[in-house]
């Protein structure tokens, strides 16, 4: 019985060490990771957002903010004095850690337009510009974000 437990414990430790090694190599992978090879500058996306709506894009930059309650979004800024873009992910499927702030990240997803005055305010509850939480966004207007499928935070 003791041998069984010792073997089980050793296996667990090996798994944990392997997982840590994978994370340490290229940063931590979230969701499906990043498959596209070319990044679109965030400044280009935000300068002409309509041209990018519906397209799958890869972006990279500094994580300047993260959803504090659920880790369901993070904001990436491509450069100083430039606009940031929000990477919104499915709740619980990907959880961005608060510790990501100040770290470089690459993310991938579909660039999306969200209309906030279409009567679906509740459905947009996690997608508004409320930096504090995931509260319902009530202001009308249009916002652009990336529906993220994966990211790597270094």
């Amino acid at each position: 019985m003791r041998r069984f437990f010792a073997a089980g414990l050793t296996l667990l430790l090996v798994c944990a060490a392997t997982a840590l090694a994978v994370h340490a190599a290229d940063g931590t992978v979230y969701g499906k990771g990043v498959t596209l090879t070319e990044s679109v500058p965030i400044a280009d996306l935000m300068a002409d957002p309509e041209a990018w709506v519906g397209k799958r894009v890869r972006v990279e930059g500094l994580v300047v903010d993260v959803c504090k309650k659920r880790g369901c979004w993070m904001e990436l800024a491509g450069g100083e004095n430039q606009p940031a873009v929000r990477i919104k992910v499915e709740d619980g499927v990907i959880v961005f850690p608060l510790e990501a702030r100040g770290h470089e990240a690459v993310a991938e997803g579909v660039f999306t337009r969200i209309v906030l005055d279409d009567g679906l305010g509740e459905a947009h509850s996690h997608e508004g510009h409320d930096a504090e939480s995931c509260r319902k966004e009530t202001r009308p207007g249009v916002i652009y974000l990336i529906r993220g499928t994966g990211a790597i935070i270094r």
């Binding site: 500094l62 300047v64 004095n81 959880v95 608060l98 510790e99 100040g102």
Partner: protein, 194 residues
Amino acid sequence: MAGSAPRANHRVRRWLRVIHRDAGYLAVGLTLVYAVSGVAVNHVADWNPSRVIERVERPLDLGDVRTDDALVDAVGAALGIDTPPARTFRATADRLLLFWDGMTVEADLARGMATIETVRDRPVLRQVNLLHLNEPKGWWTLVADLYAVVLAFLALSGMFLLRGRQGLAGRGKWLVGAGLALPLIALLLLRGGP
């Protein structure tokens, strides 16, 4: 021949008891993890179940400092922070972000104010929530799936451990019925989502 069915029943019940007992022992640790975390994340609308986040706003007197490096030093000095930030970022002409491990400072240069945000883990809760919400993914997903199977087995096998008035045919059926009715009533009376 007539006595073979009761004997087989007895054997099955004995094995059920043995497996139920050992599976129960195995499940103690994870059940506590999921129970404690379950209560904590149930109330996510009211609090952050994993972190304590504190925000303090303080005035900044930076004088005539204008270069970014000097600004970073001046912000740290004005706030009494000795260690240099791990990363700085000039988001806009008036907004400077400084990142430390567990702390972020947002300096509003136009208003002369700094927002200091510190983040620390809630001991135990951070760890159990991490496991409950399957943040590690990978092989933990398999552990969580196996645990779910063990829980289902415990629930089903538990119904057949006792016979007679204390068993499923006696008071058991009423209690199982009540337990099944609860989620059904909730589904009828309560609505989630938009």
